[in-house]
């Protein structure tokens, strides 16, 4: 592979490819130096989206006009000598779970097919303040319920590495868009792994910050106590720049942490991990735990790389992680059943009116029946059941106790080590359709990512390489104590650099060029 600072694209050919293959850091530098305009850069991405996305289906909405308008403003401001934020003019894609004023926001659901929010989510407002052109809204599993983006009401997104495979979920649209150079950066949301698992299976980087580090205001809620917003990128340094834009206290979100944002951008320059204590979580790695051999092999190599960088590797045990999946699938549906109650077709959203003169209740019932997909209904029913009088203590109450124990496991582990690592997902990307009939098999994709959401600690997935058996990318997950998000970037950046040396480039550069389908 080529020198990473000039990603001469392999076989892309088209003029747009040169620009879209730059990292966000390079884009920002070239814009700042006046070597590139935001209009050129934004147009290059729009052109590529137009050519590639009919094949991928990563975007549910492309806002070419809005993105170019922002780009023109940024170019004019720069020409006028105005001091601009670091990422000004660098385009970004936003998961369709974040409300964008004036731009349809569906959360991947028929229910919100025509919903145009009258307000911006705080993250979107911050992106606008950072003067980043918003290319459009990315595909996702309906209301973020899924690990493959197959549960989107608007069709699955395809994995740029293999069009017959899933790009992960729920944020498959964001990960596919970044992996396919349709956007250098994207916003994701992670309730049980929806940023990290898609990053792993598309060879990209994704961070779930500490719970409360990024405002949830304006993010369509799945499970309030688990949801967190974060950046998707192709490199750790790029992710850090977007992280810095979106993180910080927001008085509109009561659960937002009122503390300074850790220096993630500075940490992303780390090259030496001497003295760092790294713990391998016994319960979420190893072929005996069901991790695919190729995934495990890359993980083991990554551990060697960490050792080379000066880290001490030890094994730690988090015994209650075994119950994380069970607790998660009680807490998530419980909160979701309540959060999704508002979609009743009374004031907005899909409305179905039964024949005759139906009552409000009948209209609600018919609309929810038509507007929600099967997975959403499944979880609403699960959650309604778990919260019901007489079952509450046995299910929701018990799950909350497990959650506390998992948080204690983390606390105990972080007394011994500075960060924890595991493979991000048990397997590489599976084929579209392989797991849609088996919810439990689908849920198991998130076995390694869920504990972080239950405990509120930050996590990141960085590419570890490609699996020998299928040539598809795998990810390594880094977990850190709450409000120590910079550790993710330090470890991620150092590992990324070392693996790049060993493997001859970023993992994403091994991806084949996409064959556009008719």
């Amino acid at each position: 592979m080529s020198d990473p600072t000039t990603h001469a694209a392999s076989g892309a050919g088209a003029a747009d490819a040169d620009l879209t293959r730059l990292t966000a850091v390079e884009m920002a530098d070239r814009l700042a130096a006046g070597a590139l305009t935001s209009v050129e850069l934004t147009q290059a991405h729009l052109d590529r989206i137009e050519r590639i996305d009919p094949t991928l289906n990563a975007f549910l909405l492309v806002d070419a006009e809005g993105a170019l308008a922002t780009a023109r403003e940024v170019d004019a401001a720069r020409a006028a000598g105005e001091q601009l934020p670091r990422l000004a003019g660098v385009p970004v894609a936003v998961k369709d779970i974040a409300c964008t004023q004036g731009l349809t926001t569906t959360a991947g659901s028929r229910m919100l097919e025509d919903f145009v929010p009258p307000y911006d989510a705080t993250v979107v407002a911050r992106i606008r303040q950072a003067r980043m052109p918003i290319l459009g809204k990315t595909n996702m599993d309906e209301f973020a319920m899924g690990s493959s983006t197959e549960h989107s009401a608007f069709g699955p997104t395809r994995n740029p590495w293999d069009l017959d495979r899933i790009p992960g979920g729920s944020g498959g649209g964001s990960s596919a868009a970044v992996a396919a150079y349709l956007a250098p950066l994207a916003i994701g949301s992670d309730t049980g792994g929806s940023i990290r698992q898609p990053a792993a299976v598309t060879g990209t980087v994704g961070t779930k910050p500490t719970y409360g580090a990024v405002s949830r205001y304006g993010i369509i809620a799945l499970a309030s106590s688990l949801d967190q917003i974060g950046p998707c990128a192709r490199t750790v340094a790029d992710a850090a720049l977007l992280h810095e834009v979106i993180a910080g206290h927001d008085p509109m979100d009561s659960t937002s942490v009122d503390a300074p944002v850790p220096d993630v951008v500075g940490a992303a320059g780390t090259t030496d991990l001497s003295g760092l204590r790294v713990g391998v979580v016994r319960e979420i790695s190893g072929s005996d735990q069901g991790f695919q051999p190729g995934v495990q092999a890359r993980f083991d190599e990554a551990l060697d790389a960490l050792r080379d960088l000066g880290a001490e590797i030890t094994e730690v045990s988090c015994p209650h992680f075994a119950y994380a999946m069970a607790a998660y699938y009680l807490i998530l549906p419980s909160e979701a059943s309540s959060n999704l109650a508002r979609y009743d077709a009374m004031r907005y959203g899909r409305r179905v009116t039964p024949d005759g003169s139906p009552s409000a209740e009948q209209v609600m019932g018919a609309s929810r029946d038509a507007g929600f997909g099967d997975e959403v209904k499944r979880r609403i029913i699960l959650g309604t059941y778990a919260l019901s009088s007489g079952y509450y203590d046995a299910y929701y109450g018990q799950a909350q106790k497990v959650r506390t124990l998992i948080a204690r496991d983390f606390e105990a582990a972080f007394e011994q080590v500075d960060v924890l690592v595991s493979p991000t997902a048990p397997t590489t990307a599976f084929r579209i359709g392989d797991k849609t009939e088996d919810p439990m098999a689908m849920y198991l994709n998130d076995i390694a990512t869920i504990p972080a959401n239950l405990a509120g600690v930050p996590g990141m997935s960085v590419p570890s390489g490609t699996a020998d058996e299928d040539g598809l990318p795998a990810g390594l997950q880094i977990l850190a104590p709450a409000m120590q998000d910079q550790r993710l970037y330090a470890v991620g950046a150092a590992l990324e650099a070392r693996l790049r040396e060993r493997q001859g480039g970023y993992v994403i550069e091994q991806a084949p060029e996409i064959e556009v389908r008719a």
Binding site: Y119, G218, A221, E335, Y348
Partner: protein, 520 residues
């Protein structure tokens, strides 16, 4: 045994009759809309009577992605209410979601408190006035308070097209979300037992005392007719001497103190008739009808209603420090009932006078007037007399306004009273002065100066007028000298006329008698 079967008017039994066989148990749930400037979980305004759906935002409309933020002033009000009701204040408590579907509830869950209320275990002593010809003394009853908790109000549904204004028979419904998210405090009593025949009056006295307390706390405008104070009355009967409570009904739409008493009384007579017939009370909500004085069946309500409460994950716990609680305790006003007793004693009013003052809502204004120097008697005379009369027609188109809306301040009244007692003005001049004050011409002194209102203090001018009048009326003078002293009245009138009203009539009388050498 059957439940209610007939669709016609409910049977009742005479009130006095039922008391021989049954013991009433009440439970009162009062919802108070707080008078905060903004809503419970967002920054929207809370003013009453705005155009529908103009005081809304993504949060109180429950739009996708919107999140709540707790109104700190509302929490402080809740704590003050709890303290005033002698409750313990939780060191740590959470909001909970009460899940059920209804179109006027934007999120289809109400953010409320469930098993962790902000205030628990209090009491309020209420005084039931003596019945005329029955009791000598008022009846005091201690109402035990179970809890006071914070929640948000729902929107307001208006059902259109039916004859009753209720959803049954309506063609469509309109929802105003201005009310959605307004802070509410729900105050729940423990079961009230042992009030016997006085139970309906206890209910009324409790709601009245609570209203006064909330008004004194200045946390709500407590207007039952506008719904800022709403009472749901739970009523059940058990056979006299029994220990297990009977099945209860919950009566809603009780919009005045009088209705509280009437609704409880009615439900007692209805329950008794059902129980006398060997039937069972259906646990349900009942709807009170002010016009006909009866309740009708609402929706069945059972203890099995499952609201799937769980802690609100979008909010952090409320954890008032003990310092905060003590700081708020220091802001509590005097208990209204105790305060009334103290003021009555200080002012020397009779029971009747004090009751009139309380009913006229004039306690505060009289207190302020006394504080700036007026005598309690004069303050009462002005505010309950001339000013009360004027307030009845001072509004636009001759409508009534409140005493405080007249534009006359306690300082004005004290000053006016001083002008009268010092002898500068007589009553008629004082009323003219008041006209000027009401017309915005300034303070009483300024008005009296500008209008040239002043009793003539100079006996010289008055004596000259007396001499003139005596000279002009020799026949009357003759009568007076002959012993008909009451004839002096005719002369006083003439003297006052010559003085153009600016004389003290008493002084004029004295001068006439002195001049004639007659003893008054």
């Amino acid at each position: 045994m059957s439940t209610r079967t007939s669709a016609g008017p409910d049977r009742t039994v005479p009130y006095d009759d039922l008391l021989t066989r049954y013991e009433p148990v009440l439970g009162l749930e009062v919802h108070v809309e707080l008078g905060t400037a903004t809503k419970m979980f967002c920054g929207c305004a809370t003013g009453f009577g705005a155009e529908p759906n103009t005081q809304t935002c993504p949060v109180c409309l429950g739009l996708p992605g919107a999140l709540p933020v707790v109104n700190r002033t509302a929490v402080e009000s809740a704590i003050r209410i709890g303290l005033a009701l002698n409750c313990g204040i939780a060191e740590w408590c959470r909001f909970a979601r009460k899940n059920y579907f209804y179109p006027d509830m934007p999120k289809n869950f109400q953010t409320s408190q469930y098993d962790e209320p902000i205030a628990v275990d209090g009491w309020l002593d209420v005084e039931v006035p003596p019945r005329e010809g029955v009791d000598e003394e008022p009846f005091t009853y201690r109402v035990e308070i179970e809890r006071a908790h914070m929640e948000e109000d729902t929107g307001k549904s208006t059902h259109v097209g039916g004859s009753t204004g209720r959803i049954h028979g309506a063609s469509h419904s309109l929802v105003d979300y201005n009310r959605a998210g307004i802070p509410l405090i729900e105050i729940v009593t423990k079961p009230l037992t042992g009030a016997g025949e006085r139970a309906p009056e206890v209910a009324r006295a409790y709601v009245g005392a609570l209203r006064d307390l909330l008004r004194a706390l200045d946390v709500s405008d407590v207007k039952m007719e506008q719904g800022s104070l709403r009472c749901d009355a739970n009523v059940s009967l058990m056979p006299t001497g029994a220990e297990r409570f009977g099945t209860r009904t919950e009566t809603k739409n009780v919009n005045s103190l009088r209705s509280v008493e009437r609704a409880v009384r009615y439900e007692m007579t209805r329950h008794a008739a059902v129980l006398d017939a060997g039937e069972s009370i259906l646990q349900e909500t009942r709807h009170w009808h002010e016009d006909t004085g009866i309740t009708t069946s609402g929706r069945p309500k059972s203890d099995a209603d499952d609201y799937r409460y769980f802690p609100e994950p979008d909010l952090v716990p409320v954890a008032p420090t003990r310092e905060d609680v003590e700081r708020l305790r220091a802001t509590l006003p005097e208990n209204p009932a105790e305060r009334r007793r103290r003021l009555q004693e200080e002012w020397g009013y009779s029971d009747l006078e004090m009751r009139d003052v309380v009913n006229a809502g004039a306690v505060e204004v009289i207190e302020a007037t006394v504080a700036v120097g007026a005598s309690p008697a004069a303050a009462r005379k002005w505010w309950m007399g001339e000013l009360a009369r004027r307030a009845k027609t001072a509004g636009e188109d001759g409508s009534a306004v409140g005493l405080l809306d007249l534009g006359v301040t306690p300082a004005h009244v004290a000053e006016l009273d001083d002008l009268v007692t010092s002898g500068r003005l007589n009553d008629s001049m004082a009323r003219q002065t008041l006209d000027g004050v009401l017309a915005g011409e300034g303070s009483p002194t300024e008005v009296a100066d500008a209008r040239g209102l002043e009793l003539v203090q100079d006996d010289g001018a008055l004596q000259a007028a007396v001499d003139e009048v005596l000279a002009e009326n020799p026949d009357v003078v003759e009568k007076i000298r002959g012993g008909k002293v009451q004839a002096v009245g005719a002369l006083i009138g003439q003297v006052m006329k010559k003085m153009r009203g600016q004389a003290d009539a008493g002084r004029a009388r004295q001068l006439i008698l002195d001049t004639l050498g007659v003893q008054g």
